[in-house]
């Protein structure tokens, strides 16, 4: 039973389809991250779920309750959706104390004084802000404001929590720390969440599953590992981390995999994949899946290459190399080092060579 169900959600702005037929099921207690380049419709999608934006078509169900069914004339205002939301700007009200900010949803619900005080204190303790309850937002830091926003969204124990790029206004160190805290809170409290970000590293770190959007359309949904290792298309492969995309033609396909010949005449063995011989395809190989070693190039999927540029970045060396007509990137351990101009061989396990159609 999914905790959030989005069906065929579309939103038109003027003639532009900001969200185009998105369907998504989020399970109870799951952290679903919506990720994509800016302008891909992920925030619009989130705002439609929140009821801040009225979609042009589609249905949204939170738990057992249908909150949006445009075709049936159902559209609940945000305050009746029983959700919590953390905004990009924190949206901590400057004219209220930290305590009053967090108490706001409970006051609207008419919770009595004593239980209200207990629940607010509890929520503030969760985000380690109980000592600052009497402060105003101008008297606390950006990271603390973000925690206030988090406590406020949690305090009424909503069925669903929405995060709209919550960390993008924080500095890099704080972002890493808050990311971990949000993840831990989610595991501890077990809430269902939809989290929007444009940062794919953040998405990978925090998600149970990731949904990748591009130009209003959902391109792939899966666990971070799935998406990274088995991207469904070139967009996903390129967006989630760096990759080498090699264009070619499918030569043959057998039980042990397929053979692709690139335009430059290089043959690549691929462990899995579909398609008919003669079809134009692409092969995605992650830079860290490539191995760099001395010549000669022996064995399956080993090709001669020439190093053009070697950049030492600490945990690895990033090589820019030429493999026939293809420019490729290789991330290798710094134990081996080759100078620019070195003649080397580059190899990849067929399992790590992903065949992409379309």
């Amino acid at each position: 039973m999914s905790s959030l169900s989005v069906e065929n959600l579309s939103k038109l702005f003027g003639g532009v389809r900001a969200v185009d037929g998105v369907s998504l099921q989020v399970r109870e207690g799951e952290m679903m991250v919506l990720v994509g380049p800016s302008g891909c419709g992920k925030t619009t999608c989130l705002r439609c779920i929140a009821g801040l934006e009225r979609p042009s078509a589609g249905r949204v169900r939170i738990g057992e309750r249908v909150v949006t069914a445009i075709e049936d004339g159902v559209f609940l205002p945000p305050e009746r959706r029983e959700i919590g939301m953390v905004f990009q700007s924190y949206a901590v009200w400057p004219h209220m104390t930290v305590f009053e900010n967090v108490a706001y949803p409970l006051r609207a619900l008419g919770v009595a004084r004593e239980p209200l005080r207990q629940r607010v204190t509890e929520a503030l303790r969760l985000v380690q802000l109980d000592a600052l309850a009497a402060r105003y937002s101008s008297q606390i830091s950006g990271g603390q404001q973000q925690r206030v926003a988090l406590a406020r969204s949690l305090v009424s124990a909503p069925k669903l929590l929405l995060f709209d790029e919550p960390l993008s206004n924080l500095d890099a160190n704080l972002r890493l720390q808050m990311r971990i805290e949000i993840k831990e809170l989610q595991k501890q409290l077990g809430f269902t969440a939809v989290y929007v970000t444009h940062d794919q590293t953040e998405a990978m770190a925090i998600a149970d599953r990731i949904a990748i959007m591009d130009r209003g359309v959902l391109r792939q949904v899966g666990t971070p590992r799935d998406i990274y290792e088995r991207p469904a298309n070139a967009f996903v492969a390129g967006f989630m981390g760096t990759t080498n995309l090699l264009e070619g033609t499918l030569v043959s396909r057998g039980p042990d995999g397929a053979l692709v010949r690139t335009a430059g005449g290089i043959e690549i063995r691929v462990a899995n994949g579909e398609g008919a011989p003669g079809e134009a395809v692409r092969v995605s190989i992650r830079p860290e899946a490539l191995e760099i070693r001395p010549r000669p190039a022996n064995g399956v999927n080993a090709w001669p290459a020439t190093v053009r540029l070697a950049t030492f970045v600490g945990e690895s060396i990033i090589y820019r190399a030429e493999m026939g007509p293809h420019a490729i990137e290789v991330h290798a351990r710094p134990t081996q080092a080759y100078e620019a101009g070195a003649h080397v061989s580059v190899a990849a396990d067929p399992v790590h060579c992903i065949l992409l159609r379309e």
């Binding site: 069906e7 559209f75 305050e79 009200w93 609207a108």
Partner: protein, 580 residues
Amino acid sequence: MSAKSPAEPIEDASAARRPAGLRALAALRATGASPLELLIIGAVTALVLWLVLYPTGWLVWAAFHKGAPGATGPWTLENFTSVLLDFGYWQLVGRSLLVGIGITLVAALIGVPLAWLTVKTDMPGKRLVELSAILPFFTSTFIGGLAWIFLGNPTNGLLKLWFGLPVNVYSMAGIIWVTGIYMAPYMFLFTAAALRNMDTSYEEASFMCGASLPRTLFRVTFPLILPALLSGMSLVLVISMGIFGVAAILGFPARIVLLATEIYSKTVLVPPNFGAATVAGLTLMAITAGCIVLQRRILRGGSYALVGGRGFRTKLYSLGKWTPLALAGCALYALLAVVLPGLVLVKTSFQPYPTPRFGPWTLDNWSAFFEKADLLQTLLRSLYLSTFGATFCVVLTAVIAYIIHRSNAPGRRVLEQVSVLPIGIPGIVMGLAMIWAYIVWPIWGSIWVLVIAYLTLFMPYGVRALGSNIVQIHPELEESSRVHRGTWLRTFTRVVLPLLRPGIYSTWILLFIIFIREISAAVLLTSINTRVFPVLIFEQWTEGYLNVMSAGALLLSLIMLAVIALFKWGFRVDVVPAYR
């Protein structure tokens, strides 16, 4: 990826079977708006449409009919033909335009350099200069005009007797000059705001290209703030075309008639000629509306985007050897606009008759306001009217501005257009329109006519001022309330209003001051029982009690200054917390 889930129970499954009326209601509900929200939006829109369109509609209708207010006759074009075929009428229109444009130029020539000196240079004593440039804004052209009677009349004006200057304020030039110096604060405020917002790097880039200061000023700085300058000038032109007070006290003695005073004469003097007054009113309104349309047309091409957003510093130009000259110019303005008029009013208010001499002295002019029952009543009436009027106007315009900027109600564009329309309606024209529209209503002859007139006329100021404050409130602050169980009403009262409070206070002062000094509409709408203070001052002038008039003008100024001081130091309105 999503497997089609089985059909879920829908809350509103019966929607399609309901009667049409309920379906329409359901469709409205489906926009996410609560019934209360829809009710408030509907009521406010209806009220604004009524306030603006009912009297102006009456004015247009009346222009095509014979008769007088309350007794309109058959349809006719006579009002137009009798006036428009008269060459003298076109002279009147031309004269009014000339005066309006002259005032605008005087205001710009004073206000723009003052603003540049205060914002962009290292001139000493800036705070004092700024104060003297803003003070006339808070008094009024009318009070300034009264003071200038003593300074610049051709027989015993002080400028003539003391300094030998051949000045005559009872002339076109006099009207232009006196109104111009009191309209200069508008230009000052518009220009100063634009200069403060401008990124200095645009000017620095010009200097780096080898341009001199004058070249930079005229090729970079002024073109960049041109939209603001044009906005200011069109506002000044619109206001000065409709000014009644100065045009009357300086124009009548010299038999110089302008459109505003023509409307007054044709309405008030016996026998009245409502047809001619109405056509003059429509002419004036057409001119002011034309100015506004023209300004919008010009501004559509120009961009405000030049005003950069981030990292701007204000580098101050060093005036060097020009400092004394700049200071002298500022001092001269302060002297002519504030110091001399103020002093001369004080002097006259303590004297029994107008005289250039010092003495004899008396307190009679002042005590009159507290001893004569009708004078005191008028003063109190003005205070009540302004206090409650400004309060009601702030509430109304806060809701209007909120709907315009923050709702997606279908009618909000109409509301936006109509609520700022009165900017183009001069007060005296509004007064005339109100006579036509409300003379048969039971409220006629009561203070309510004035409340309605003021509310309509000055609504745009509230909508603009509060609108710019609402825009400053980050939308997520409201959305956060909606998501966290706050209804529309709760969001407005618990989040929007508190965040808007500084803006509400400063708008209230602005409206209070505009209300209490207003004369143009009031002069046509007050009777002996609803007379307001500025009209009383005007009556002292018509009856020749110039010394009582001086005391009254000073009293009015003191009230306005006291209210500003109260808000500034009592409620610390200027200390605006910087909300994100």
